[in-house]
């Protein structure tokens, strides 16, 4: 309380200075007058009395300076003193300083690294002007997955809206680009003309396509470098995109990225940046095929999402009255800030990672506190004396905090260096794990957070030693009897509590890491015959007008398969269109069907559990190691299909699908007989249950939107990768096969976020284990040192070294066990949180818990034992003497 009063008085003292000075002058004059009068009474003359009075009073100006300092903030000078003292102290105790700096650097470094990632993925605003006003509009009605609206709807809304000041429709796709350097696959974004304004970008050279122009494209900076060698003189050149000639009208500045959320629809190239921007021209006509587009809009400054929702819903209702369309009109309109769509589920798991890493920091702080406590007990004599002669508790505490601030700041520097290494590692190894992960960098925000953490850590570490200061009684300091510290019970209890907390937190992290590990291992346990590391996949999408015809597509596919089958190193080759075609319904013979308009496959985004209609070849089981649950697989040219168990359960519960007939297209096409049921196999995503899937011969397809070639290699897949691409060029030089990777890699990427989590948790867990072990070891060593006298007595009275060691170990165990119990309880309590990170493993898995507990217990016991061995170094005779 007193300190607060003084603080307030000092703050107030910053104001009203002149008044103060005149007041003080008046007091001084009064004082001098009285002194002079006194001297005159004793017989001195006026001048002599004045001189004597001034002498008695002392120098006035220095006193006034001190007075002024007292009135205002002079803690700055004090802090400076503390700082210098703290820095001077460091080289005197290098071991201690190094220990605490290392511990804190690890903790601060890990927190910095995780926060950097969190900042880049979740916190940073999208790199577009007024990003907080950008919303995505969708009528698919699904929470996740691709979000679309219908083209004519978009055109209508854009022309009539009052709530939004910009609306942009877009889509992305992978297409073939023919440039002077040759053909390649590029990611193309189709954008309406307002995109450039929305994204806030101006071309570095050239101009953006004019409204209505179809054959003008814009290239990204990297694309210009990649396809033309330089970004100069590219404007005006001609290229062919997807078989259509185009003119380049602009090149974008370097560093600009396409950052609108893109749906993951067809098989797309992983992690590709948009290189080409093509104008999207939409018509308002509702006849024929209505395209699905993604839509983004910018709200006017005063407008809200609710207003936008109301306006668009009203427009939709009017349209529905004029031109009813039962398939489309029921769809729900949703408007959401696009940041949510981009960030997605990454936020939840990264928040959990932040929580976990804060635990690591806490453990590091606990160790730091222990070290500081140990230091302060060896310095307690100095502290006690300084307190007694007037330094006061407040000043001593300030000093302790300043010293720990010096140490923590140095630790922060190392921590930031350490963090930059970790971030580089994460970005290089886990780029696919989260959106925008590649943009992680240690910027101003991160550094500000680091500074805050530094201060907090310094304060946290000095709490216990500072509390110890108040308990020091000056009298004991002056007594020469106690050579080593006689610790107050508070100190010992604090240290034990810290160690127990460390053990608890470590157990929680170990459990989380262990469960994650089990989950990932479990996901990667492949059934017999499935060897994804020996399966190469290659994506192919048709380019050019001649391949609009289904027959030509099938012919190309056949040629590729046949050619590959005869290459060396190829054990089996097949194709699959997994993921290309989805259907909401399966038309089974002799079953009633809901009435629907139109024919053709219903490819409507927004189905909850779509059926995958996959074209395949007869060799697919050989390539993937598929097992038949019943019946047989397809032959290449028959009107037969095979279903998987998931589909069988859904459409033929309790019965046998074999023999039933189905149609691939609703109300059109031949009836195909189901000839077999194949066992479920996770061969595209590891952490989701298998979708119901129907396989039909690719030769019976009307059209293939693209396909994946799968090759089972006899030897290592690396030698075969270039061969696959060259085979495609052999068959038809205008087509390109792309994305040649092993199935193992694709599967790995499907769980990329989990792998990142596993990496982080495993790092946290091992780091905290290390820190906890160090903590246990240091506390017990300290206990041995501090109980030397008592140990000497015991030894003198006949106890064996072994018995004394056991006593020490027991003391350690008494601290560790409650900590571990608390940790186990905490881990159990957090099971729902942990369940979010896991797949296929229960968060209360007994085996994992037992294993990690055993690990922690063993290592902790080992640490106790090694620390207890210090007892062996005690010579009981000198221990008795020295005390």
């Amino acid at each position: 309380m007193t300190a607060i009063r003084v603080l307030l008085a000092r703050i107030l003292g910053l104001f009203g200075r002149r008044h103060v000075d005149t007041d003080l002058d008046e007091e001084i004059r009064g004082h001098l007058d009285l002194l002079t009068a006194d001297y005159m009474r004793r017989g001195l003359s006026a001048e002599q009395a004045r001189a004597a009075a001034r002498r008695d009073f002392g120098a006035v100006e220095p006193m006034k300076e001190t007075y002024r300092d007292q009135r205002a903030f002079c803690w700055l000078t004090d802090a400076g003193q503390d700082l210098r003292f703290g820095i001077r102290q460091l080289p005197r105790h290098p071991g201690f300083a190094a220990g605490i700096i290392l511990t804190l650097a690890l903790g601060i470094g890990m927190v910095t690294a995780v926060f950097t990632v969190f900042n880049a993925v979740v916190l940073r605003p999208l790199p577009m002007p007024y990003a907080d006003r950008l919303v995505g509009i969708s009528t698919t009605g699904r929470a996740a997955g691709p979000q679309f609206v219908f083209g004519p709807d978009f055109v209508e809304w854009r022309s009539q809206t009052r709530v939004f000041d910009r609306m942009v429709a877009y889509g992305t796709d992978d297409e073939t680009l023919l440039a002077p350097r040759g053909p390649s696959r590029v990611r193309v974004a189709d954008v309406t003309e307002d995109y450039w304004d929305l994204a806030g970008v101006r071309p570095a050279s050239g101009r953006v396509p004019r409204a209505g122009e179809r054959n003008e494209v814009v290239l990204s900076h990297l694309a210009a470098l990649r396809h033309f060698g330089s970004d100069a003189n590219v404007v005006g050149k001609a290229v062919v995109v997807d078989g259509h000639p185009m003119t380049i009208v602009a090149v974008l500045p370097p560093g600009f990225r396409f950052s609108l959320p893109t749906g993951v629809g067809v098989i797309a190239r992983r992690g590709a940046e948009v290189e080409v921007y093509r104008p999207m021209i939409l018509s308002a006509s509702r006849e024929g095929r209505t395209p699905l587009v993604s839509a983004v809009a910018r709200l006017r400054p005063e407008a809200s999402i609710e207003q936008g929702q109301a306006e668009l819903s009203a427009m939709r209702m009017r349209t529905a009255h004029r031109q009813p369309n039962p398939m489309l009109d029921d769809r729900v309109l949703t408007i959401r800030p696009i940041k949510e769509e981009v960030v997605g589920s990454a936020r939840a798991s990264l928040l959990l990672m932040m929580l976990a890493v804060v635990c690591v920091l806490l453990i590091a702080c606990a160790n730091g506190t222990n070290l500081l406590l140990a230091r302060s007990t060896t310095r307690w004599r100095e502290i006690a004396i300084r307190t007694a002669i007037g330094a006061g508790r407040g000043r001593m505490v300030r000093q302790l905090v300043t010293e720990s601030l010096v140490l923590t700041s140095i630790a922060s520097l190392f921590g930031v260096l350490f963090a930059s290494v970790i971030v580089a590692l994460i970005v290089s190894a886990f780029e696919q794990s989260a959106p925008r992960l590649a943009e992680s960098s240690i910027d101003g925000h991160v550094l500000a957070v680091v500074a805050a953490i530094t201060v907090l850590t310094a304060v946290a570490c000095s709490v216990a030693p500072a509390l110890g200061v108040r308990n020091r009684v000056p009298a004991e300091a002056l007594s020469a009897q106690t050579a080593t510290a006689s610790p107050s019970p508070v100190g010992v209890w604090t240290r034990n509590l810290l160690v127990a907390t460390e053990c608890g937190l470590t157990l929680v992290l170990l459990a989380a890491g262990g469960l994650m590990l089990k989950s990932v291992v479990h996901m990667r346990q492949y059934p017999a015959g499935f060897e994804p590391d020996h399966v190469l996949t290659m994506n192919m999408q048709f380019a050019g007008a001649e391949y609009d015809d289904g027959k030509r597509q099938i012919a190309l596919a056949q040629a590729v398969l046949d050619t590959l089958a005869h290459r060396r190193g190829v054990e089996a080759v097949s194709l699959s269109t997994h993921g290309n075609l989805l259907s909401a319904l399966l038309q089974v013979e002799n079953r009633p069907m809901p009435r629907l308009e139109g024919g053709g496959l219903v490819m409507v985004a927004g189905m909850d559990a779509p059926i995958l209609m996959t074209a395949a070849s007869s060799q697919l089981p050989r390539v993937l190691g598929l097992h038949m649950a019943s019946g047989r697989w397809l032959r290449d040219a028959e009107d037969a299909v095979v279903v998987n168990e998931a589909l069988a359960r859904r459409e033929f519960p309790g019965g046998d699908p074999i023999g039933h007939r189905v149609r691939l297209s609703l109300n059109s096409g031949p009836w195909m007989t189901i000839v077999g049921v194949v066992s479920d196999l996770k061969y595209s995503k590891l952490d989701a249950s298998v979708d119901p899937e129907l396989f039909f011969p690719y030769t019976k397809a009307d059209v293939l939107f693209g396909f994946t070639t799968l090759v089972r290699t006899t030897g290592s897949p690396d030698t075969l990768a270039p061969v696959m691409r060259s085979v495609v060029s052999e068959v038809d030089a205008t087509q390109i096969g792309d994305d040649v990777v092993t199935l193992e890699e694709t599967l790995g990427e499907s769980i990329a976020p989990r792998r990142l989590n596993l990496f982080l948790l495993a790092t946290f867990a091992s780091m905290s284990l290390l820190l906890a072990i160090i903590g246990i070891f240091s506390v017990l060593s300290y206990v041995v040192a501090q109980r030397r006298h008592e140990i000497g007595v015991r030894l003198a009275l006949g106890a064996s070294y072994r018995q004394v060691m056991r006593m020490i170990v027991r003391q350690g165990v008494q601290t560790i066990v409650p900590g571990m119990l608390a940790g186990a309880v905490a881990a159990f309590a957090l099971r729902r949180l942990m369940a979010r990170l896991l797949y296929g493993v229960e968060p209360t898995d007994l085996l994992t818990f037992s294993l990690v507990t055993a690990l922690l217990a063993t290592t902790a016991l080992l640490a106790c034992y090694v620390a207890a061995r210090r007892v062996l170094q005690i010579d009981w005779r000198s221990a008795l003497h020295h005390d």
């Binding site: 007193t2 007091e27 007058d33 008695d56 009135r71 007694a388 007037g390 330094a391 407040g394 000056p474």
Partner: protein, 123 residues
Amino acid sequence: MAHDLLLYPVDMSKPPAGVPYGTLDLMILRTLDTMGAQHGYGIARRIEQVAQDALALNQGTIYPALLRLEQKGWIASEWGTSENNRRARFYSITRAGRKQLAAETASWERTVATMTRLLDDRS
């Protein structure tokens, strides 16, 4: 009472004041406790009297000390008229000040007792 030992340059005709501020504060509080409200000069005179020249005190050093004590709330001040009809500030001890005085006195007595014991032991 938080502060450092602080000596500032003084008139060379007098030896430097050998009084740590901690003790000065204590003496001021004691004086005010015994004598009631006093102005700066009165306090300084009283301290000199009691110390009987064992202490060389620059009287001006009182004022920063008085300010400090007032900031801490252990004394309070009021403007009044001194004996030679001048405007002067009078200081008096507060209840918090009295508590502090009691605590500090006890602490000093303990220290003195220990020192005495120590010196006796050594002889």
